[in-house]
Amino acid sequence: MRFIKTIIWLLLVTVPFILFLVAVSFFDWDFIGQGNHISNIIFYILDQNPLLANELRYQNALDVLDFGIFYLLIYLTIFWLVINIIWITIGEFLNIDRPSKAINYIWLWSIFFIVCITGTLIMNYLILYLKDDIWHFIDKDVFRWKIQIFSFFYTAIYFYLCSIFTTSRVMRPAVPLLNIILRN
């Protein structure tokens, strides 16, 4: 029962994080950026090289959405859920009966934290930057300095929030600063 509650908490954190990305990528929100999602992709993500034909930019944006962001979001949803479920499951099997023992597993949480972030960044790279039909549409600098840095912080916040809501009480000391945050 406690495991199901944890999974519900995990979904309650994951779904808004993914929905936000879906909304920004696929919905026409005229108060964001250039007025619609396609224009935003064209303006903020695609290569602005003036020697590339303008006529292709709209189609390039659609392809980035259909063959890039769409698959990336599916992957991220699955990957984030899986990595958190593994963290929760391992926490259950570590047989930790008091918090002083849990603090010894900060390294384990850190590994999950790093794997979650690097997995996200690598998948960004594979899907948005290496995949045949998309890599040449996206501006190199935008990819390096905007998409990857945003992904780093977004994933870090997501994983930490998941850790807050899904880590068992005895396991909380393994999550850095969590006890201090919850105590206040």
Binding site: N49, L51, L52, A53, E55, L56, Q59, D63, D132, D133, H136, F137
Partner: protein, 512 residues
């Protein structure tokens, strides 16, 4: 059984996909068919009527004195062969006004001196002052019936003022009107033996008697194909006898491009397949209207060369100042509507670049990464390029150059040329003029090849007349023919509109 049905279904789905793709390519390439339309024009081989005008001014008489002058040979042949290019012939002689000449008497043009004697009430001592009024005969062009052919035979011995001021219009306008009506102007210049006196050279009263050879001219105005047919007949029958080196011919027309290359109908020598570019089946179809290439990531430019003489109407002035317009389609999908499968990139001038023109040889390049303004294309995709090669001008484009080879004795010297600066530095016309004025010793002789009418062999001016007469040149040129030549070139240039020279369809796969 189920497996067999699935395999059959897959086969048909695949087959329909190929058909759909092929139809899209057909749709895209159908816009190239405009070039074919120009090829399907019917050729006219005979004019409805031929109007022949023979200049019988006194200076023309010397052409019939030698026993076998080119004039006699040509005019005899002209009279005989005109029925091959016209249904009916009407002959005239003229000095100031045309006078009809019956067919029975036409043979006398090459044999009887009385044709070239003073007629009417002109006193004998004033006879030599009567020059043929060429501009008056040209008036006939304004009233000539449609589909007729006008042939004027003359030595073009101009009145001094006939090509200057308002009188220039009288010569120019009939030619301009002819071009605007879609007619062509053909002009033969033929060096002929001459025995006689030439009167009225630059106002001198004494005739010049030492000319052993003089040019005469045959001007034809009418349908381009008829004129070219006439040239062809004369080539076979008479010019080999007269000597090809003694004959010049040019045609002026607005129908400059006669046999453009189009679609994939290009000679194999057109492409210089450099490193990284190879022939490849891009669309996986057997198409005759496309040339297909694969271009690797590391590649040299694709060089495209062709010969203008193969596409222009023969004997016309070469077109110049080229650029290209390229309509591009990028393949994005294997299924769906054609505009989803192939994304259109509007016509651009920065895909195929004009590189060089050396007389009739043209060079263009494509996929040249060294050109900073070249449109870039995403790799790992297929493209259809419909390239239109366009000429903005006709006639020579003069380049001004400065020698840049430090080891050359001409280092830093300047020259003008119509063949491009090659490895030398190109400078602006303004800079060329400034350098030439300040340091005339730096200016090298012009390398611009003159039009034949402007060469010394054919033309002279009054300033040089005495020197020519003193030198007793056996070959006596024509006064101010260079001005007439310049006028014809000017008419051609002014009436020329930007025109498509040829069109090419290529399919390219830009490999990863």
């Amino acid at each position: 059984m189920n497996k067999i049905i699935i395999i059959i279904l897959l086969f048909f789905i695949g087959h329909f996909q190929v058909l759909a793709n092929e139809n899209c390519v057909n749709d895209i390439l159908s816009s190239s068919n405009k070039t074919n339309v120009t090829l399907s024009k019917n050729k006219i081989s005979k004019a409805s009527q031929a109007f022949l005008f023979f200049d019988t001014s006194i200076n023309m008489g010397g052409f019939i004195n030698p026993p076998s002058s080119a004039y006699k040979l040509f005019v005899s042949e002209l009279i005989k062969k005109t029925p091959l290019i016209s249904k009916n012939q009407i002959f005239h002689t003229y000095i100031s006004t045309p006078e009809p000449l019956s067919v029975n008497k036409i043979g006398g043009i090459t044999t009887k001196h009385k044709f070239y004697e003073c007629k009417g009430d002109v006193p004998q001592n004033q006879c030599h002052t009567r020059k043929a009024k060429f501009s008056k005969i040209l008036n006939f062009l304004n009233i000539a019936p449609k589909d007729s052919l006008t042939i004027i035979v003359s030595d073009l011995f101009w009145e001094v003022n006939e090509l200057a001021g308002d009188n220039r219009d009288k010569v120019e306008k009939p030619f301009v009107n002819a071009l605007k009506k879609g007619e062509a102007i053909g002009i033969f210049g033929i060096q002929s033996l001459y025995e006689g006196k030439i009167f009225g050279i630059c106002g001198t009263s004494a005739p010049y008697e030492n000319a052993a050879s003089r040019p005469f001219f045959v001007i034809l105005v009418g349908n381009k194909d008829v004129i070219l047919e006439f040239k062809h007949i004369m080539d076979e029958d008479i010019f080999s006898t007269i000597g090809i080196d003694k004959v010049e011919f040019n045609i002026f027309t607005n129908d400059i491009i006669s046999t453009p290359y189009y679609a994939a109908n290009w000679p194999s020598t057109t492409f210089d397949l450099s490193e990284g570019i190879s022939k490849q089946n891009v669309l996986n179809e057997d198409r005759q209207d496309l040339i297909e290439f694969g271009v690797n990531r590391e590649h040299e430019p694709l060089n495209i060369s062709f010969d203008l003489n193969k596409v222009q109407t023969p004997h016309t002035i070469l077109v110049s100042d080229f650029y290209t317009k390229t309509l591009t389609h990028q393949k994005r999908r294997d299924s769906g509507s054609c505009d989803k499968q192939w994304i259109k990139i509007n016509e651009r001038e920065n895909i195929v670049f004009f590189k060089n023109q050396d007389l009739n040889n043209l060079d263009f390049d494509m996929f040249n990464t060294k050109r900073p303004d070249s449109l870039q294309f995403q790799r790992n995709k297929e493209y259809l390029f419909q390239i239109d090669f366009i000429a903005r001008k006709i006639g020579k484009v003069i380049k001004y150059c400065q020698h840049s080879d430090q080891s050359s004795p001409n280092y830093n010297k300047i020259y003008d040329t119509d063949k491009g600066c090659s490895k030398d530095k190109e400078i602006s016309k303004e800079d060329y003029i400034i350098i030439a004025e300040k340091t005339p010793e730096r200016r090298l002789p012009s390398q611009v090849e003159k039009f034949w009418m402007q060469k010394d062999k054919w033309s002279f001016s009054c300033e040089r007349s005495q020197a020519i007469m003193d030198a007793e040149r056996p070959l006596f040129p024509v006064l101010n023919l260079d001005t007439f030549g310049a006028l014809l070139i000017d008419i051609q240039e002014t009436n020329f509109k930007e025109t498509s020279v040829s069109q090419m369809n290529i399919a390219v796969r830009l490999n990863k």
